[in-house]
């Protein structure tokens, strides 16, 4: 039985891949028939994703993933290239993430794409959407470096096409180019990294790379590590390589933004995990320290920049940077534990990181879908023009709220679980070494706390300004609830959030084959106490720490009896009136009197002003006294340090040099002749 199931699940995988291909083709076939294109391309995507979810989840649950052998999709005649894939545990885990999101997003897109009818070609959107899903899945499953690179580049290419889907606006075009250029520079590093590995092993098969690092000379090994860290860091949006992310994610169609934030940047995480824990062997200490530090910096800076945004999708994009940072903290800790020889603890940190990976995928996609629904309804991304949507689109508001609570790492939802695991592994890390390095663990833990608190602040702002209070513009006033498919898509992800939050002990089993593959440990038994209700965070007897979100929820609900009992006794006669908000005796509150997003984050802007360097311009016109202004125009900017201090100068320098060089080709034939002449003389002298 289980054997046939396994066979089924392993056959389902290629079926899923074919499904994506079919979706892409369908999209192109029905270029002119947008309804059919929408239905078929996203329908195929949904089915394919379903197959993917099933086969990956099954492979992980039954541990079959451990045993899978690599097989060729189709033979190639180009030397060096093999189109071989192997759904091992790590691949399956990420494959599951992409398929899960693919499912939800495809359902959502069925409704979302209607917004493009008559304006843009839905077929193209669907085709590239399928292509992106396909390429991403292949990136996770590829078992051969060149095949990996091919899938990687196709992924980047289709992502580029999707980002510049609404290419009429210049902002979009520039964002697309920035994204593609950055990602390709990253790819260059990956190519070099793989080539170094290839030089050492003589083959491009991932098998031949396994634990290769131990055989390589240290210098080369470090070079490989740095190359991959850079290459994958770009894709993951690690500070300071993140600048493409807040530019590209907002301008893409929202279902694509969700896919990019949810899955695309996770390919970077996948790469780092694959390389560090599968290829490079036992790491030296500074690798872990580097990754942990970068992670911490990314987390804090990401959330700080997010707080300054009042463009809803840019805000979410910056939060992706933050969460990538949190994931990297887990991975960095893993590296350090592997160095000090604590495999169990390393596995715990790894689980924390990867758990946060899937969590972030789920809730960030959910939030982007919510933002998409809002965009769909109000046609603006500017939070200052929203407000009051909770009444007009209650379901979207509810889903977004769930996402917000989850991403703020608040119990009982999934963000809390993964950050809790991260805390546990960091705190236990303190005992693993006696060197001063161990201070890094609690300190980065504290930074994690800061990040969480700031994230909470940021999402109070995001949700409060967007959905609560009075509408700030006519768009918002006439907003309407999103169509059913869009809600369904969000619903799926919400369910996933709740499941991952309330039943971590169930989900933990998924990690067993994974940690077994990478660190030779299986922790799910150890981390589950009292018949699965409670999650434990300790891998050694010298530490203890438990949590149970489900328990907390149940107790909380049962304690609801207290207030309700009080109603019965005291407040049976109390009535409820709807009245205007108290307005200090003015003539009624207008939306202008509400607190704005910019105002909300001002205290933080002031506290961290050394980082933001805020500039503001106030123009007020008044008739007779400045206190009675007729109009006030307020403008405030914060500086994206890396952009203004690092990237722009670099770019300008390159352009300047290139313009100088153009003088070589100044049009004078005499000059050209003399180039040849000089070359000839030089070579003659050389040849003598």
């Amino acid at each position: 039985m289980s054997y046939t199931m396994d066979a089924l699940s392993s056959t389902l995988l290629p079926v899923g891949l074919m499904g994506y291909v079919a979706g892409a083709v369908a999209g192109l076939l029905f270029l002119r028939r947008e309804r059919l294109a929408n239905l078929f391309s996203f329908g195929c995507a949904a089915l394919a994703a379903l197959c993917g979810v099933f086969s990956c989840a099954h492979a992980l649950a039954t541990g079959a993933a451990g045993a899978r052998q690599s097989f060729e999709l189709f033979p190639s005649l180009i030397p060096y290239v093999r189109f071989s894939i192997r759904p091992d545990a790590l691949g399956c885990f990420f494959g599951m993430i992409v398929s899960l999101l693919g499912l939800a997003l495809s359902i959502y897109s069925l409704g979302y794409a209607r917004g493009y009818y008559g304006r843009k070609s839905v077929g193209v959107l669907g085709a590239f959407f399928n292509l992106l899903l396909l390429a991403t899945t292949l990136v996770f499953l590829a078992d051969h470096a060149l095949f990996f690179l091919i899938a990687w580049e196709i992924m980047a290419l289709s992502a580029y096409c999707l980002v510049s889907f609404e290419h009429e606006r210049e902002e979009t075009r520039n964002a697309g180019v920035l994204f593609f250029v950055m990602s390709h520079i990253g790819t260059g590093c990956l190519i070099l990294g793989f080539l170094l590995l290839f030089q050492a092993s003589g083959s491009y098969d991932f098998d031949s790379f396994h634990a290769l690092g131990d055989k390589m000379p240290a210098s080369q090994r470090n070079a490989v590590f740095l190359l991959f860290l850079f290459g994958f860091g770009v894709k993951a949006g690690m500070v300071p390589l993140h600048i493409w992310l807040p530019a590209a994610h907002p301008v893409a169609p929202s279902n694509v933004s969700a896919l990019m934030s949810g899955v695309l940047i996770k390919t970077g995480i996948y790469g780092i995990t694959r390389v560090c824990f599968d290829f490079l062997g036992t790491p030296p200490n500074w690798w872990g320290v580097t990754v942990l530090t970068l992670g911490t910096i990314s987390a804090v800076l990401g959330v700080l920049f997010a707080l300054m945004e009042h463009d809803l999708k840019r805000l979410l994009a910056y939060h992706s940077i933050e969460n990538i940072g949190i994931i990297l903290m887990g991975l960095g800790a893993t590296l350090m534990f592997l160095h000090t020889g604590h495999p169990a603890l390393a596995s715990l940190a790894l689980i924390a990181g990867l758990y946060h990976t899937i969590n972030h995928a789920v809730f960030k996609a959910l939030l982007f879908l919510g933002a998409g629904a809002v965009l769909h309804a109000t046609h603006t991304r500017n939070m200052e023009e929203m407000g009051g949507l909770a009444k007009r689109m209650p379901w979207t508001a509810l889903f977004f709220l769930v996402g917000a609570v989850a991403i703020s790492a608040l119990p009982p939802l999934n963000g809390f679980i993964s950050e809790w695991l991260t805390y546990q592994s960091l705190l236990q890390g303190f005992g693993t070494t006696t060197s001063l390095i161990r201070l890094m663990f609690p300190l980065s833990g504290v930074m994690l706390a800061l990040t969480g608190a700031l994230a909470a602040a940021c999402f109070v702002k995001a949700f409060g300004i967007t959905f609560l209070a009075q509408p700030r513009s006519d768009h918002a006033r006439h907003a309407h609830e999103a169509p059913f498919t869009m809600l369904l898509g969000q619903g799926v992800l919400t369910a996933a959030c709740v499941f991952l939050g309330l039943f971590p002990t169930v989900f933990l089993k998924v990690f067993d084959p994974l940690t077994h593959q990478l660190t030779g440990q299986q922790l799910s038994q150890q981390l589950t106490v009292t018949n699965g209700l409670v999650l434990a965070g300790n891998v050694s007897t010298t530490w203890s720490g438990t949590v149970s979100t489900l328990g907390i929820l149940l107790i909380g609900l049962s304690l609801l009896t207290v207030p309700f009992a009080l109603w019965l006794f005291l407040a049976r006669s109390a009535r409820t009136r709807i009245a205007p908000t108290w307005d200090c005796g003015l003539r009624g509150l207008t939306p202008h009197m509400e607190y704005t997003a910019t105002g909300f984050s001002k205290p933080i802007r002031m506290i961290f002003k050394t980082l933001f360097r805020p500039r503001r311009e106030v123009q007020r016109e008044y008739d007779f006294l400045p206190y009675f202004a007729t109009t006030i125009r307020f403008e405030s900017h914060v500086e994206e340090v890396f952009l203004t201090r690092l990237y722009r100068p670099l770019n300008e320098w390159v352009l300047r040099v290139s313009r100088r060089l153009r003088a070589l080709q100044a049009g004078s034939i005499q000059a050209y002749l003399s180039y040849i002449f000089v070359t000839l003389l030089a070579l003659l002298l050389f040849a003598l």
């Binding site: 290419l157 060089l661 000059a671 050209y672």
Partner: protein
């Protein structure tokens, strides 16, 4: 049954016939027929070469080894596509009054001759004849460059012919030196000047003389092949020539000059058996790659940008060959092929754009070409994706092959440099094309938009490219391997 002679004869015949026939359409058909024939013969030649090693005719006056056969295929394909494209193209020009019928006839006469010249280059067994043939291609293409008779096109033609003939004079001196070294006292000169004979006696030749010969040949043919810093004529000629000619120039003509250069390289290496000539190729190849990038980055003219990208690809091919391992040479030859399939598409698309907007200046064309020429832009986009070395197209594979070969042979520095240069030009082309192709039209576009011009030609090339990217037929693979062995010496 002669094989090489018809390959040469077919285009010459077509060219001469074009002098007589009245209608433009017939001339176009003639061109297509001629090159279709050569393509067929080329495929046959492929099998012959695989069977017999070297095919010779006219008492070894013509001879074709794997390398020549490979070149024959490239020339035929590109010329075929060009003549497919040319018909519609010139109908537009006539309609717009940009050209007189006489000039159009000039094109249809000269193009087959141009092709024939290139065939002669690769089929001639005798280095002197090879030289003469290269000169012939140069002269025939000069008039094509000057076809529009605009000031700029005349300027380009002038630079092309002056630099070209000068270079060829130097190449001739190189040839003379080789000859001097070859026939010390042998009474009957001709056979002793044959490639086959030269390779046999290579090790007895006077090394000093050969060194000198190679220097002159390198500068000479290098000028024609557009290696920096002798490349200065290249962007001018490519941008000013009518697009079909640009396609042929950058698609094959550069590679033909490179082929001539390679012959000398092989000979020198065989004689000196040292890296003397390799270092030249390596240095200048890398220099070309790195010089191309900044010019692409700040380029304002579409076809000039494409020309610089050709410069970069030629540089890559040189470098790959200079790395001198079987794999890298194989990759370089493969790259030659893929590039020959890609570049013409870009130039055809550029031609459509030029005829639609009457300019090649980015600021005049863009943004939003896609709104006017959707099909053209789609094909151009695909070709551009291929040209900047992205999968699934073959250039990615060939580049990876070259680089991997370099790494496998522990030539890490060179390979890293290659990767860097490729990155740079990628960024340039990507942002430039995005700027003009995508976006919304600012000003109202001309009504008579060429929506489907040249689609057959482009499709032919792109389909071929895609097919050969994922699946190389075994004989072709064998042929390229054999050619690689000829260049790298049998490892």
């Amino acid at each position: 049954m002669p094989l090489l002679t018809p390959i040469l004869a077919a285009p010459v015949l077509a060219g001469l016939l074009c002098l007589l026939v009245p209608s433009r359409r017939v001339m176009a058909v003639l061109g297509v027929l001629a090159f279709a024939t050569t393509l067929g013969l080329g495929i046959w030649l492929l099998h012959q070469v695989l069977a017999r090693g070297v095919v010779t005719e006219w008492s070894e006056f013509f001879s074709a080894d794997a390398l020549s056969a490979w070149m024959v295929l490239l020339i035929s394909v590109v010329s075929l596509a060009t003549s497919l494209y040319a018909g519609r193209y010139f109908r537009r020009d006539l309609a717009a009054g940009a050209l007189s019928p006489g000039r159009v006839r000039e094109f249809f006469v000269l193009t087959p001759l141009f092709g024939a010249g290139m065939f002669l280059v690769v089929l001639a067994n005798n280095l002197g004849v090879m030289w003469a043939a290269v000169e012939a291609t140069a002269l025939s293409s000069v008039l094509l460059v000057a076809l529009y008779n605009r000031r700029t096109s005349l300027e380009a033609a002038w630079k092309y012919v002056i630099l070209g003939s000068l270079g060829l004079a130097l190449a001739l001196l190189g040839t003379v030196f080789v000859y001097a070294a070859a026939c010390k006292d042998s009474p009957q000169p001709l056979p002793s000047f044959n490639w086959s004979h030269l390779m046999r006696v290579a090790d007895q030749l006077d090394p000093h003389l050969l060194k000198l010969a190679f220097v002159f040949a390198f500068v000479g043919y290098g000028t024609k092949a557009g290696l920096a810093p002798m490349h200065t004529w290249l962007p001018d000629a490519h941008s000013e020539a009518p697009s079909p000619t640009s396609a042929m120039l950058s698609g094959v003509s550069l590679k033909i000059a490179l082929y001539a250069l390679l012959r000398f390289h092989i000979l020198t290496t065989a004689c000196l058996d040292s890296g003397f000539s390799r270092h030249f190729l390596l240095g200048f190849g890398l220099f070309s790659m790195f010089l191309a990038a900044p010019f692409i980055l700040v380029q304002r003219n579409l076809k000039r940008m494409l020309a610089y990208s050709s410069l970069e690809h030629v540089g890559l091919i040189c470098t790959g060959i200079a790395m001198n391992t079987p794999v890298t040479i194989f990759g370089a030859l493969l790259h030659m092929g893929y590039h020959a399939l890609t570049k013409p598409v870009l130039f055809f698309a550029a031609g459509n754009i030029h005829q639609t907007f009457h300019s090649l200046d980015f600021r005049r064309i863009g943004p939003g070409v896609v709104k006017v020429l959707p099909v053209t832009v789609l094909w151009m986009g695909l070709a551009a994706v291929a040209a900047i070395g992205l999968p699934p197209f073959g250039l990615f594979l060939s580049e990876m092959t070259v680089i991997s070969g370099g790494f496998a042979a522990r030539q890490t520095t060179v390979s890293v440099l290659i990767v860097l240069a490729l990155l740079a030009s990628f960024c340039g082309i990507l942002q430039q094309l995005t700027r003009i192709l995508l976006g919304a039209r600012k000003r109202d576009h001309p009504s008579d938009a060429r929506r489907t011009d040249g689609v057959p030609a482009m499709t032919l090339l792109l389909v071929a490219l895609l097919v050969f990217s994922v699946w190389l037929p075994a004989p072709l693979l064998a042929l390229i391997r054999q050619a690689a062995d000829i260049i790298g010496g049998p490892q």
